[in-house]
């Protein structure tokens, strides 16, 4: 069947079976590659996109259920060549290691911030607790989201250093 959805502000017509997951339509038909296929069971969060402003797991969402909806992905967070303040915070705080979970975290955190979320770590953890990251231990993700919530500005030529004590030259 033929359906209309809006992806990052552009109206798109797709031909897909009604139960095709939104994730597959985005990645395989529309070449929107920031949502990742992780567990494809709704458990990991890396396929998260915003559907009319709400974070949703695109792997579990039939395309027919989002007809006419406004879909946002990482590609739409900022104009081409630019970064959103959250993305800048992500870079400055080194919140991505392998990067596979990053797209889902960015979209859920964007929704959290757009809904007036604060820099409180417990509140952020509640909002993002359904996303799995195996590399970072979540510490720097929390740092990045709370920095963006505070409206910090960043020098992207450096990373946030000095978060932890470093003792130099014990044997020197």
């Amino acid at each position: 069947m033929s359906l209309n959805i809006t992806v990052n502000g552009a109206s798109r017509t797709v031909n897909a079976e009604p139960l095709t997951p939104l994730l597959h339509v985005l990645r395989e038909e529309l070449d929107v590659l920031s949502p990742k296929a992780g567990c494809q069971n709704g458990g990991c969060g890396t396929c998260t996109v915003l559907v009319d402003g709400e974070p949703r797991r695109s792997c579990l969402l039939p395309i027919a259920a989002v007809e006419g909806a406004e879909i946002r992905t990482v590609e739409g967070l900022a104009p081409p060549g630019q970064l959103s303040p959250l993305q800048e915070a992500w870079i400055h705080h080194y919140a991505a290691q392998c990067g596979f979970c990053t797209g889902g975290f960015l979209m859920a955190a964007t929704a959290y911030l757009e809904n007036g979320g604060s820099d409180d770590h417990t509140e952020i953890a509640k909002a993002l607790g359904g996303h799995v990251c195996r590399c970072t231990g979540y510490v720097k993700i929390l740092d990045a989201v709370s920095a963006a919530a505070r409206g910090d500005s960043f020098d992207l030529t450096t990373t946030a250093a000095g978060l932890h004590t470093t003792l130099k030259g014990v044997d020197q």
Partner: protein, 368 residues
């Protein structure tokens, strides 16, 4: 019934790479005609940041800006050989390979620079992409000019290769004795945790975790922090949550999705304090040792010790689920002798284990 708090500590040592009997990694570097640097190495970056760290090592060894360096690890066919990204060997062994290759390129740059400046290469240094006479900074030539002269005048491609290779073990044919060279670099770490154990439900929460890691010199401290923090939460998962086969060897209950295989989430994050202790290694590139795999080793024993401190029972099997805590507490209340851990000997307690199917082998003794 109440919640009890306890504290525990564990210390570990961890070898860097296999680091014996060869364990080679190789790198090849060529200088483009404008002075920019192409590095071909087999070490694969799986998110740990080896491309960044190797670029830093090459840039610092050569004396050129880091953005002049391109790491080409696009395939293992045309790249120089590497044993692989495992055993925490990327920075130490792969890093030594790119350092050795870069030293050869540096020497050749200085030799040609010496010819062009008519100065002995020993009196030259390379700073920020320029070959400069020591003590006479107005006498200088850009690395790009040297590479251009090599290409267009001398007819030479400036290149260098390096191999990190550990000595092999030797066999004495008379006595049969094997001598293995000592391990090049051992990293050390300690982890202290504070837990809260619910006597009624068996639930264990890690409230606070403090860790110290001796990684040699941290070539990229932000990335080392990332590995330590990530390892801390993996270790928390290994200690309390994660189990591929809860009823091993039966795989009937294997977790096939994140609803049944429990990985820690952001809400499990304790108050976390990490300290990097820089204790330089003599053999590593710029004093580095390893972080990598050691980062999730110290947390499970620290958690087990803290649980003993809190409620007086040893749980000798990971992960320490509420069921295992409750079985241990019941056994203690019933007067059944508790599991024992005494240094190198672990008595594997079948009565408390929910996974043991090997009754013949109740005592596991590790060679000292």
């Amino acid at each position: 019934m109440a919640k009890h708090r306890g504290r525990g500590i564990a210390a570990i040592e961890y070898p860097t790479g296999m680091n014996q009997n060869g364990d080679p990694s190789q790198a090849w570097i060529k200088l483009k005609m404008d002075g920019r640097v192409d590095v071909f190495a087999g070490t694969v970056d799986i998110g740990q940041g080896s491309k960044t760290v190797h670029s830093q090592i090459v840039a610092d060894t050569l004396g050129v800006p880091m953005d002049w360096v391109t790491m080409d690890t696009s395939n293992t066919d045309s790249s120089a050989f590497c044993m692989g990204t495992f055993a925490s060997r990327g920075t130490f062994i792969g890093g030594n390979a790119v350092r050795l290759a870069a030293e050869k390129v540096r020497n050749r740059i200085l030799e040609i620079g010496g010819e062009l400046l008519e100065i002995d290469p020993g009196d030259l240094e390379i700073i920020d992409g320029e070959v400069i006479a020591k003590g006479s900074p107005d006498k200088k030539i850009g690395v790009g000019d040297i590479a251009g002269a090599a290409t267009f005048v001398k007819g030479e491609l400036i290149s260098g290769q390096g191999t990190a290779l550990k000595d092999y073990a030797t066999l004495d044919p008379e006595t049969g004795a094997v001598t293995i060279p000592p391990h090049s670099a051992i990293s050390y770490a300690a982890c202290a945790v504070e837990v809260e154990v619910d006597e009624e439900t068996g639930d264990v929460r890690v409230l606070k975790m403090s860790q110290v890691y001796d990684v040699g010199c941290a070539i990229n401290p932000t990335m080392v922090e990332g590995q330590i923090e990530g390892g801390a939460i993996q270790g928390l998962g290994l200690g309390l949550l994660e189990n591929c086969y809860p009823y091993y060897p039966s795989n009937d209950h294997r977790g096939g999705q994140f609803g049944s295989y429990l990985a820690p989430s952001m809400e499990d994050l304790p108050e976390l304090e990490c300290i990097i202790l820089e204790n330089p290694s003599a053999d590593g590139p710029f004093g580095a040792k390893a972080i990598g795999e050691m980062a999730n080793n110290a947390q499970p024993p620290a958690i087990a010790t803290a649980i003993y401190n809190a409620v007086g029972v040893w749980v000798t099997e990971l992960p320490i689920t509420p069921e295992k805590v409750l079985r241990a507490l019941e056994a203690k209340a019933a007067g059944i002798p508790e599991s024992v851990t005494t240094g190198k000997v672990v008595r594997y307690d079948e009565a408390l284990s929910i996974t043991s199917h090997q009754s013949a082998d109740a005592v596991v003794t590790f060679a000292v």
